[in-house]
Amino acid sequence: MTTRDDLDRQSPQFDRLMAAWFETEARVHEPGDLLDRTLSRTASTRPRPAWLLPERWLPMELTMQRVRLPRAARYAALLVALILLAALALVVVGTSRRVPAPFGPAANGRVAFVTRTGDIATIDPATGATSTIVGGPDADRYPVFSLDGTRIAFVREVPGGDAVFVVEASGAKLTRLTKDPLAETGLLTWSPDGSQIAFHSLGSLWIARTDGSDAHRIDLDFSIADEIEFRPPDGAELLVRGTRRGMAGLFLMKTDGTDVRALTPIDGGQFDYLWVTWSPDGRRVAYHKVPANEIHILTIGAAEATVLRPEGGLQLLFPRFSPDGTRLAFVVWHPDDTKQIGVAAADDPTPRVTLTGPTFPSGIQYDWSPDGTKLLAIGWESDVPWVLDPAGSAGQRSDWRATFPDWIEWQRLAS
C-alpha cells in the first residue's frame, strides 16, 4: 500500500499524491445539458440592481456627527393638519372595514415572495404554509402589499416589455394598470389610501390608479433612480431619489410632480441616498450614504441630518424604521466581511447598537414584522429565513424555506 506510506512521509509527497488523485478524479465532463438548463434559468432571471448589493459598497467608524443640509421648507402646520386628517380618515375607515391604518404597528400577516417559476406566492411565516396567489406561465416579480394588506401589486413581463398589475391578496380580481409595455419597470409603492401606485420606468416617474383607469408619466427635470416613497401619513407628497447631471440626491414633491424641492445636496454617487425609509409620522427619513457606509437620519425641515457612523471598522447599511418609529434597524457589516442585523433607538442622540441574530456570510434581506416585535431576515444565496428579536438574541431559524430575490414584503393586518 503506497498511500499510507506516502502520507507518513514528507508533506510534499502528500501534496503530490492529493494533486494526482484530484487530477484523476477531475477527468469528467459536466452533463451535456447542464449549461443549457442553467442558461435557461439565468435568461428568465433579472440581475439585481447594483444598489441592492452590498458587495459593491466600499469599506470604512459609532460616532454621531452633524452635516449641513440645504434649507428646506417648514411643514409643521401642514403636518399637524395632515395628521388630523389622517386621524379622521382612520375613524371613518375603522367604522367601515377592519383594515390596519396605513402606517404604524399592525398585526402580522403573510409574506409575499416570487417562486422560481415566476409565480407570486405568500407564506405564513408562523407555519410555513404557502399559497400561490398568481400562477401560470407568466414571469411575475416585485410583489408589494398595499398598506391595508388587502391587495398585491406586481410587475409582469408581457410582450414588448413589462406591465403593472394589481390583484386581491386572495388571488382574485387581477387588474392590469398599465396599457402599453414599459421597460425597466420597478419600485412599486402604494399610496396610503391604496388608490395609486407610483413606480419608475426607464428613469421616469409613473403614477397609476389602482382601479386601472389611468396610468401616466410625470415629467421631471431629473431621472428617478432606485427610491420612490409616498410620505406618511397621507401620501400627499412623494420622496424620490433622483439624479441630475450624474449626481444623486433626494427630492420631495407633490404627487402630480409639482413643488419639487431638493431634500439633500445633489452630490451623491451611484450608491448614495439608498434604502430610504420614512418614520411612520412622516417627520424623518433615514437613508444610506457611501463611501463611509453610514446611515443618515434627516428630520424634514431641519438644516442638519444625524449621521450614524460606527467605530471599530463597522459599517452600517440598509436602514429601516420600526413600525412605531422608535427604533431603526440596519445591516451591520463587520470587518471580517460578515453581516448582521443591528437595532438602535431612533431618537437617542448617543445610540447603542444591539446586534441580533447570526452573522451572515453575504448580504441580508430583512424587514420588521408589522407589529414591530420581530425581524425577518434571510441571507442572500440562502433559503433559510431567521426570526430575530430586536432586543437581541441568537435568533430562531425558521422551519420553512423561501427565497426573496428583491425584498421581504410582509402583509399588514388589522390588530
Partner: protein
C-alpha cells in the same frame, strides 16, 4: 477570464454571461463533484452558483476577480447542497466519463479506492479546503478569499483536513485488514 466579457455581463449582457458560463461550467462542476462526491448535487451546486452569479453580477466590484468570486459562490452552493439530505431513493452506479488519456502511473486503482474512501470520511469543510488547495492550486490567501475566512483559519483547517485524511486512511486500512483476516 475575459475582462471584457465580465464587464459586459455586469452591464446585464446575457450573451456575455452565457459565454462566461460556457467557459467556466466544466471547472465548476468538477470542483463541486470533488467536494460533494455526488453527481446530482454537483449539478445543482454548479447551476445555483451560476444563477447566483448572474443575479449578483452587478455586485462584483472588480471584474478581474470574477473567477475567485465565482469560486466563492460555488463553495457556498456546495455547502448548501452538502447540508441537504439525498433526494434519491435509489441506488446509483456512478460511471464517470473519463477523458482519453495516458494511463495514470502515479495512482493505481487500489490507491484511488483508498483515497476515495478516506476522502468521503471527511466533512465538507475539510473536503473543500483540500480541493481548493490541491486541485485549484489556490494559495492560503486565495483560499481564504474564496471561503471568506482569515488565512490563519485556512491554515489550521487545511492542517486538520490533512490529519483527518490520514486518520481516515488509517482507519480504512485497519478495517480492511480486519476484514481480510476473517476466516471465510
Amino acid at each position: 477570464m475575459e475582462r471584457d466579457l465580465v464587464e459586459r455581463a455586469m452591464a446585464r449582457d446575457h450573451d456575455a454571461f452565457s459565454e462566461l458560463a460556457r467557459i467556466s461550467i466544466r471547472r465548476l462542476y468538477v470542483v463541486a463533484r470533488l467536494i460533494l462526491r455526488d453527481e446530482e448535487k454537483a449539478e445543482d451546486a454548479t447551476q445555483e452558483a451560476l444563477v447566483a452569479a448572474w443575479s449578483h453580477i452587478a455586485g462584483l466590484r472588480d471584474p478581474d476577480r470574477f473567477e475567485a468570486w465565482l469560486h466563492r459562490l460555488l463553495v457556498r452552493s456546495c455547502y448548501r447542497e452538502a447540508g441537504r439530505s439525498s433526494r434519491r431513493g435509489r441506488i446509483e452506479v456512478h460511471v464517470p466519463f473519463l477523458e482519453a488519456s495516458e494511463p495514470d502511473s502515479s495512482l493505481d486503482l487500489a490507491d484511488r479506492d483508498e483515497l476515495e474512501r478516506g476522502f468521503r470520511r471527511l466533512d465538507t469543510d475539510q473536503r473543500t479546503i483540500l480541493v481548493l488547495h490541491y486541485y485549484l492550486g489556490l494559495s492560503l490567501d486565495e483560499a481564504a478569499d474564496v471561503l471568506g475566512i482569515p488565512p490563519g483559519t485556512v491554515r489550521s483547517r487545511l492542517h486538520r483536513a490533512i490529519v483527518a485524511m490520514r486518520a481516515a486512511l488509517e482507519a480504512d486500512a485497519r478495517s480492511r485488514l480486519t476484514t481480510e483476516g476473517r476466516p471465510t
